[in-house]
Symmetry: C2
Subunit: 424 residues, 2 copies
């Protein structure tokens, strides 16, 4: 499959890198880059673009006979991006785009054009970065009646409000820092005004409700008017304020809006912090499904673009496990018996002098270092429950320590040894 | 598309109901049920099966000339379910199944048979009920290198440990209640032993790592040995104990296991309570994606089966928004200006006698009932921040109350009025 890539920013370069190591992926065939285009050929980039044919003009690349799939990563709802996508579709090329503004504003017209030309127009990367919500809604949930979608669809806004509350800092201060760190754009208007989230919400609503996407009907209110005081007072009363995107089916039609909402702290969307995105889909008979992940960034977005490119191979029958049986070569193996991890150990010790010392000594002799220890009062049986959280050590050391303990002060009941998963 | 359904338990009946109201779904074409099969024809069921041709034998239905897609909802890794699925594939029928044990144990052989016959074998409903993780992994993430999958894949186990900790009750007690309420099977062995979660983890691992599924290599340890004491002591130290399914890529091959793990309370999997399922996929370059939802139940599982059936229509080109442009008829409309909801109101009141009374009076006059109120000390400016959480009322009443307030005691700064989303 021959692809042409227009737009060589972070995502475009991320995609080239991914194509170059495609043997590690699970693609149904080989992807070749036959041409690239961007505003400047000479700009310094993290990938070497010299192996690829250069096009000064994206639209020329879009209709090049050597391109099967045109990948648009230029951005902007109108101008060159729109013209290039239209050119590609008219030339009978499949299109993959990450351009949310383009799809939100001109998606229906482009979809009709693609339909007429019998080509694919895919835009997984346009909504929520690495979270594959477009295809989940479009294909996986085709057998469910979607009632409502809510989500946190702008990572910048969520990052700003999270940091404001956690660090007790005002909006302007946190925004300026985010700009310095590259977490927010030099011109953050599209993000903080709610417009970016609105683009994404409109696209999801059109898919979920088979609705005639009309972006002019979407109401948009941003995060820029929420102050630290609001966040702090809401927090004190057990709430969080988040910029929430919503699409809901009403008797009149689809209502789509983006606005700050107050959520109970226990609400699934309230607990999504930092720059994460999340989408909650409520439907009948599926109930509620929540997808959470990185909503932006070169890697996640390139992954989503590549997922769409993979779909273009369009085999008549997709192998049940994704790849043909002769490619399913990796073996299942039994987990290695020795693992290095922190461990949780619970024992019942006889409620008598020296029992606890025997335990800590057994651990020390095997080089196990204790992070936390909690002993509760002895129970009626005369046994006292003790729990220990260790620092990282091999499981075999834990087992050796338990064997030692058996000999010195036989614990009552079998000890419980459980691995502790790292925080993430 | 003509489907035959074998197995008419909760999920089978849920599917029939869904087919009967398919005009509300987003299917690419019409689904017809041409035959059904189950152990007993006369059993009392929530749907009327008399309109459909009855087959005493699932395998006969599987190869009936009037069936395009055979839907297997019988269960059991061997015996009639396996024979019927093999019969369907050999007869060149596509197969959709919700049978995790069958796919975990015989998935590779069945996939080879499907490949040979050039038919589809789909099993979205076999893993995590309504959560479309099979297709996300197989298709959407084909362009990402998966490194590790972790998840809570058995709702019964998660329900048991959640209730034990929350209500301070022992395992046997909570299990007996769950059985009475129908949340746990009469014979809960498959669930509490970890075997059910292991089936699902093995299937996901095979897809994620293109690995030769060998269920005999999966190590399984259940929740049945975790006591209330363990859960309680872990909680006191800031941890949760959950039955975690894991698939990880190592140098030797794929390690797949199910075991109780101790998780920091802040870990994304630690916060998934009750009967929910969740799957966390870590990959390069996508980062980490988490999918959460109902892991079982007639509705969610039937939704997943229907998603697979929808895929069988296999149009050469899938419309960009899921349905052809002429089906995208629902309008986008602007949200109604009056909404009924609880509201969050923040004002700065002048720090003087009567200001707070003016606010509460203005609210009372407009019939707005106060749920919570918090006033902080006045700031240097002489203004005191006040926040009010109301009970449900129309937005227009809030606005009228604010207009009243303007007249009596002009608040400093613009008041902030934000809708409160219901807990969920």
């Amino acid at each position: 499959m021959k692809i042409g890539i227009a737009g060589l920013g972070h995502v475009g370069c991320g995609l080239i890198e991914l194509v170059e190591r495609q043997q590690n992926l699970r693609l149904p065939g080989e992807v070749q880059i036959t041409g690239v285009s961007a505003r400047s050929q000479s700009r310094n980039r993290p990938v070497d673009i010299s192996p690829y044919r250069w096009f000064d003009d994206a639209a020329t690349l879009a209709e090049d006979p050597d391109v099967d799939v045109f990948v648009e990563l230029m951005g902007g709802s109108d101008g060159p991006a729109k013209f290039a996508v239209e050119t590609a579709l008219k030339a009978g090329k499949h299109v993959v785009t990450a351009n949310k503004a383009l799809i939100a504003k001109h998606g229906m017209a482009l979809a009709r054009l693609a339909e007429e030309k019998q080509v694919d127009l895919l835009f997984e990367a346009a909504v929520a970065g690495g979270i594959p919500v477009v295809r989940v809604l479009r294909d996986s949930l085709a057998g469910t009646e979607v009632k409502r979608i809510t989500g946190i669809l702008n990572g910048t806004c969520n990052y700003l409000t999270t940091v404001m509350l956690e660090q007790g800092r005002e909006y302007d201060d946190v925004l300026a820092e985010a700009q310095r760190l590259g977490y927010a754009e030099a011109d953050p208007t599209l993000d903080v005004s709610g417009m970016d989230a609105a683009h994404k919400a409109a696209i999801l609503s059109a898919i979920a409700f088979s609705a005639d996407l009309d972006f002019s009907k979407v109401s948009v209110s941003g995060i820029d008017k929420v102050s630290l005081l609001d966040l702090r007072l809401a927090d004190r009363l057990g709430y969080r304020i988040k910029l929430i995107a919503e699409g809901v089916l009403t008797d009149e039609g689809v209502v789509c809006r983006v606005e700050p909402l107050v959520l109970p702290a226990s609400h699934p969307l309230a607990r999504v912090n930092g720059s994460l995105n999340t989408v909650r889909i409520e439907g009948d008979p599926v109930g509620a499904i929540t997808l959470t992940g990185p909503g932006a960034g070169a890697g996640p977005t390139a992954s989503a673009v590549m997922g769409d490119v993979a779909k273009m191979f369009r085999p008549a029958i997709r192998p049940a496990f994704g790849r043909a049986a002769h490619h399913m070569g990796r073996p299942f193996v039994q987990g290695a018996p020795t693992e290095v991890a922190p461990f949780f150990l619970r024992v019942y010790l006889p409620d008598q002098p020296g029992a606890l010392a025997a335990l800590t000594e057994a651990l020390a002799k095997e080089g196990v270092s204790v992070d936390k220890l909690l002993q509760e009062s002895g129970e009626e049986s005369g046994a006292a429950p003790v729990v220990i959280v260790t620092h990282r050590c091999p499981r075999s050391n834990m087992q050796a320590a338990l064997e030692r303990l058996e000999k010195i002060a036989k614990p009552i009941d079998a000890p419980r040894l459980i691995r502790i998963e790292a925080a993430s």
